[in-house]
Symmetry: C2
Subunit: 193 residues, 2 copies
DNA sequence: CCACTACCATACGCCACCGTATGTAACAGT
DNA sequence: ACTGTTACATACGGTGGCGTATGGTAGTGG
């Protein structure tokens, strides 16, 4: 069962998308290149241009896939509404932080997409949708914690912004994994009256 | 006094570095290209390869320049130690947030450098130094506010991480300019016993 | 007036990547 | 066995950026 030698001969568009997310995570947007990914998949451009019209089409597919995953995350959280809003908060943080979607690059892909969004309006728009959903959900939790209409948006911004920044500090080995964010969550939950 | 037509005919390495920071801010690391910046400066590659050995040399110079500016920021803050630690905190936040160094791309350049650091170990090392200095300074303020040895590092991480994340949210028009961070600062200053 | 240097322009070869055109092996259905 | 489709492989022309080589010009010292 030597998967490296045998494996499967046929590739799917999904295989390309996954490989492209790996490239994105490791080398940023500029690493999404047809021939480079083809080498990684031990195939040629012929396969790529069979599954995709061109490179922008691959990027579109990646964006759609990421947006879909991010949306499903929120839906999954909403399907299991625990009574305790603090528990929900911790679950959401864990969900965004964990390596569940490592197949698509995990956290590093998130950071790369945020970077990508800075230079591509279409990507920025998609990221805005995802970010807005997450902020809205965090805001609803803040409301359950007793925050007012104006404060709960600030709380959501602090939590989500803190998550983003602390992920960077964690990647730089300048912060421990999630401890600071947990403390922020505790502060927010405690002050929530 | 039409500066666009007359201006000065001779370019310096500094002009190239400034233009490169502009390109970095607008297009990311991949936008740091000799010929593209030459077009922006209305000159040719000949000028570039006179002032720099190659493109990596330009990037090195940019990195050194940024590191130097960031270090001077901290030194300037330390030179004028106001009695009130909360005032110092607000000044530091304002200093990192404001457009003082807009000549070198300002905040957008900071974000681009953090992105750049993800794919270049040398850049990551320099960014780590800068981030560590800023975290240390924030940590010292937290100590003055009455936080213990363990908590003050967490406080610094929350403030700096929050700054990074909220800058992104602000760029996406998902957060107001600095209000959330001010509230976080107030929370931290209040809880500091 | 001349030589010399600093600074820039132009032209060139190189390479990586893009997208297309075309070949080709495997397999399916009839 | 013949044909068609699927899923690639290969070869090609085109573009854009890199770095070099070389030519040109403007200013300066002698």
């Amino acid at each position: 069962m030597t998967r490296t030698t045998e494996k499967k001969k046929q590739l799917s568009a999904d295989d390309w998308i996954k490989a492209a997310f790996r490239a994105l995570s490791e080398g940023g947007v500029q690493a999404i290149r047809a021939e480079a990914i083809a080498r990684e998949l031990k195939t040629t451009k012929g396969s790529f241009y069979w599954h995709f019209r061109d490179v922008p089409a691959l990027k579109e597919a990646m964006l759609a896939r990421w947006c879909q995953m991010a949306t499903e995350d929120i839906i999954a959280i909403n399907k299991e509404p625990h009574a305790d809003p603090a528990t929900r908060l911790r679950e959401l943080i864990a969900l965004v932080t964990d390596e569940r979607s490592a197949e698509y690059g995990g956290i590093r892909a998130e950071a790369a997409i945020r970077e990508w969004a800075r230079y591509d309006g279409k990507v920025a728009e998609t990221a805005r949708q995802v970010d807005r959903r997450r902020l809205d959900y965090l805001s609803s939790i803040a409301a359950e914690l007793g925050y007012g209409d104006t404060d709960r948006r600030i709380v959501a911004q602090l939590l989500y912004g803190g998550l983003i920044g602390l992920e960077y500090l964690q990647a730089q080995n300048l912060a421990g994994a999630g401890t600071a964010l947990q403390i922020l969550g505790d502060m927010i939950a405690a002050k929530g009256k």
